[in-house]
Amino acid sequence: MKKFLTLFLLGAAILYAAEEGGLSGRILDASTGQPLPGANIQITGSVLGAVSDNRGQFRILKVPAGPHSLRATYIGYEPAAVEVILSGAESREIVLRLKPTVIPMHQVVVTGSRQPETLASAAASISVMDRMAMRRRNLMGAAEALQLVPGVTMVGDYITIRGGSGYNRLGGSRLLVLLDEVPILTSDLGEANWNIVPVTEIERMEVLKGAASSLYGSGAISGVVNMITKQPTREISLSVRQASGLFDEPSVPEWKWTDQSLYYHRSDLSVSKSYGPVGVRLALSRHASTGDRENGHFERWYLTGKAVWQLPSNASLTLFSTYSHEQRDIFLQWLEQNRALNVPATDRGDRYSMSGYVGYLVYSQVFSPQLSGKFRLSFNQQLVGVPFNITSAFTPAIGASGEGQLTWQPSPDHSLSMGLDYKFDTVESAYYGKRNANAISPYIQEIWKVSNLLHLNAGLRWDTYQLVGDSLEYQISPRIGFSWQPALGTILHGSFGRGFRAATVVERFITAGSKDFKAIPNPDLQPERSILFDAGVRQTLDERVYLEATYFFNRYVNLIEPTLLASQLAAQFVNYPVAYIQGIETEMRTRFWRDRISLQASATWMDPRDKQSGGPLLYRPRFIAAFSPSLQLGRFSAGADYRYIGRIEKVAVYPLDERVPAKIWDLRTGCRVRNWDFQFVVRNALNYNYTVSERVLGEIRNYMIAVTGEI
């Protein structure tokens, strides 16, 4: 079998090595001449393509002789295309200049269908947060990047899409988090460690909302976040960022708990270079803070490396490795509302450490302009740190996985992806014993371009999950979708599919306790299953205004949620038989005054409901909104981000506590000098007080200066 595969790969390589040339060049901003890193370049009607590096450079090898259409796309820019005729083994240098636009529909994304497609043709709802948007905001962590994405909100440390999850301490994520398409949820808690990779190493974040299990399997029950990391550059490149901030005093004088200055620092350094066919990227980051409250101190280190080896015969090998380590004090809840920045005396000095390692190896091969393959091995070892001071009772949770995927374009109108996913988890703790699990899932998906105006897709995935010594859980998850352009500037889209999530080891088996709280196991927990539907319209007006509205309806069966037992302070995970979440998500973007002013706004209304009780689901807001105006005057810029999260209607532990909606203004101003950005940022500018989870106050106002640049 191995021999056959080797022969097949060699044969395919030799067959297509003859009469092939190459295309290389740069992608630039038409108005400023600045390079556009992370732009997508594709040879139309084939699987050949590339992504531009930090200097906007790209290279596509083994392009067959003949005429080709080369198309470059980048978020926030109009696409540009050029016709090229290659004769023999000729190599051609091309420069494409892209004009800025507010229309995001030309942006190429990969998460919606596991292959490149434009947002315009995507059947699913997808949002993108690109590197420039993240850089402008000087984010401290990857999760912060998602807070302005329509339909996404953060409850505590938990990111939730369209109300799919509430605050679920110790519960698994209903959002699958990928790092370059590699799943990185922890094997024990099934939760995301958003700090596994420094935010400065992320090229863009794609958020896929709605039915995703048919492509990604267990965990992707309400959506997927794919963090796509930066590529190594061809020439040497050094990037640095230094950000330092100072916390203000609380707006309630009685909350002041120390006379010392409270501050934070973040330093990011990365270097990138190519040595012949091998591109290498290394990054080191440190983030430390006193915190704005008692028990708020933490220190975190990151070390990240990426190597991409362009092999002959149109193949590449990518090796990625990231490690993060953190030590932090624990602020579980305030002492009392009148001393909201203090912890109970018994919690004082409680701390834990957490560390995580994720590594993957991906071999990509373009066998022909119509056939490509990708084979991946990945390793995920994390000790996320159970939020009680019992970390020493846990060994790191380990997940090892492998995947093979083939993409075949038998004709320009059809594209077929198929693959097999395997994952092995092993976890051990005094609190849930030693558990091993296997998951094997084959999948297939077809995208059919019926015409330039109508695209259909259909997919099927068979998920199996089995804890060793336990019964097999499985589900067949189909998904269908369409995008249709009935008129110029109008796109209708819709998707329907099923989702699946097996209960995590922690949800089923944890037996733990702290001074004030304990968890009771429930080995009979059933997997969650969902049916997700969404349909919407994307509308552009005069190339200056972009509008999007989507209706979604999600039905969950056996939703796993915590329940609290009153006689003792204890929690247990149980299945809610049926729950519904429906809502409407809207977005608007526009630019005016010769593109100097841009506005982006979104609003999402949701109705999350438990069918049995008829009441709302725990920890979900009904309404969220965001508003981001910005101004660019030459090298000077200013902007603001406003986030509104409606009052949480139902909470589990302290329903009598006063709850308010979150209304947060972040302000920023900056100046760009050559390759350097100097910024001043005020976070929570109005010093507004709200709780991010029960009895945990949101961050108080702080002032930050930051310098970011490339050499």
Partner: protein, 155 residues
């Protein structure tokens, strides 16, 4: 042109200062206060290490949501320590004190005493406490706790 910008700036400044800024959560003004009066202190079992004051909206409580409690233990070295329990506006059918044994979890069935009772006078009448907008603070809510009533406490 400069004048225009200056006027606009001043107008914005005036607008900002004229606005009343909403700061969201603040101090909780409502609450219950009083004393915890320990009876038969010589009979306090050594295994008890903490006492909390708790106010209950429904009794018996159906969920943790029915309870409001102090995050800190009452000072056990005093005979009549005072307490203040910040509590939202509601009608509390029972205000009492519960105890915790060393090395064990809090158990809300371990009631040491409640408002309305006075074992010395043989009174065992549970008295509710209502916090309203008109009366957000209830003072003088004394809770009698008899250590002799604790199993192993001598009675």
């Amino acid at each position: 042109m400069n004048k225009k910008w200056l006027l606009t700036g001043l107008a914005l400044l005036w607008f900002c200062t004229a606005c009343e800024i909403d700061h969201g959560l603040g101090l909780i003004e409502s609450g219950i206060s009083g004393r915890v009066i320990f009876l038969h202190p010589e009979k306090k079992p050594a295994r008890v290490d903490a006492v909390r004051v708790v106010a209950v909206v429904n009794f018996p409580p159906q969920s943790l949501g029915d309870l409001v409690f102090t995050n800190t233990s009452i000072n056990l070295s005093q005979l009549t320590p005072s307490y203040r329990l910040p509590a939202p506006l509601a009608r509390y059918v029972l205000v009492g004190a519960i105890y915790r044994e060393k090395g064990k979890e809090w158990d809300y069935a371990k009631i040491l005493g409640f408002y309305g009772s006075n074992p010395d006078s043989n009174l065992y009448d549970i008295r509710p406490v209502t916090l309203s907008k008109a009366h957000p603070v209830a003072a003088g809510i004394d809770i009698y706790c008899d250590w002799a009533s604790v199993p192993g406490g001598g009675r």
